[in-house]
């Protein structure tokens, strides 16, 4: 099937229904492997067992940013090509990205207390991540409160593109400013500074969380397509009733 066929919502739903069971199975398998590796990973020589929080915090941070990147690409599809599936993809990514950003902030705070001695500091990395969560909540408010869904979608798409400015700020905040948060340690020039005994389970967990994100994203997109069908059918029903009573 050509990729362009997926732009048709009915064909897209057929593909999602076929792909979802496989994605769910792959996600579960990766989580089992990842959690087994996490349980058997050694403690950090400085942080001790609290390093186990890293296996949640780092993938959640990546996916919080990934979600917004996805929404920005979808926003282009909404604003430039006005494709309904692009809007569906953007709307579906928002609650999932918000959830992962929330997990990142909470687990980071719980990791910070024993490591830094504080739950929160207003440093550039933490603050820019909090701004990302607030942006997610803003987009969700636009989607959920707009009377006219298409106007809400356009406003959310504009906010998604404007908010994309925050992504490089989050990424490079630890280089541009003096922060309590550590600098990049996985993806950096000269290779990762994390020992393979900790890096391997981290990457497996990151892959498992990414598959979970994609699985949820497709499932939420399916729900959104069904919701739009319900809306159009209810409008038809109202039209029929109005014609019958006229």
């Amino acid at each position: 099937m050509p990729v362009i066929d997926l732009a048709n919502p009915t064909r897209f739903l057929n593909v999602v229904n076929r792909v979802l069971p496989w994605l769910i199975a792959a996600t579960l398998i990766l989580f089992v492997i990842g959690l087994y590796r996490v349980m058997n990973a050694p403690d950090d020589y400085q942080q001790g067992a609290t390093v186990k929080i890293m296996f949640l915090h780092v993938p959640a941070a990546w996916l919080g940013m990934f979600g917004w990147g996805l929404m920005s690409i979808a926003a282009l599809g909404t604003l430039v090509w006005r494709h309904p599936l692009a809007d569906v993809a953007g709307k579906a990514a928002a609650p999932i990205g918000a959830a992962f950003t929330f997990i990142c902030l909470v687990t980071g705070s719980l990791w910070g207390r024993p490591t830094w001695g504080t739950y929160w500091v207003w440093d550039a990395r933490l603050t820019s991540m909090l701004v990302l969560l607030l942006l997610y909540l803003g987009v969700l408010a636009l989607y959920w409160t707009a009377e006219d869904p298409s106007r809400g979608a356009r406003a959310a798409a504009v906010l998604s593109l404007v908010g994309a400015v925050n992504l490089p700020i989050i990424k490079f905040s630890v280089d541009w400013w003096n922060t309590l948060h550590q600098p990049a340690s996985v993806f950096r020039m000269g290779g990762s500074s994390i020992d393979p005994a900790l890096l391997t389970p981290l990457l497996i967990m990151a892959l498992a969380f990414t598959l979970l994100f994609l699985t949820l994203h497709l499932a939420v997109m399916r729900n959104e397509i069904l919701r739009r069908r319900v809306r159009s059918m209810r409008l038809l029903q109202a039209q029929k009733l109005a014609e019958a009573s006229a």
């Binding site: 609290t50 929080i53 024993p114 399916r222 919701r227 059918m233």
Partner: protein, 55 residues
Amino acid sequence: MNLGPHADFIIAAYAVTIFVIAALIAWVVLDYSAQQRILDGLEERGITRRSQRKS
């Protein structure tokens, strides 16, 4: 597995993550069954989308 003196923080981090993801999954599953139920109800009442009608 010994989680050391900061076990509470580690357990809390995993508990919050599991709770948020479980809530997300529950919302997706319940929303799917709700939309399907409404769609089935509308179709039973003879309301069909334009693309479903025979020309």
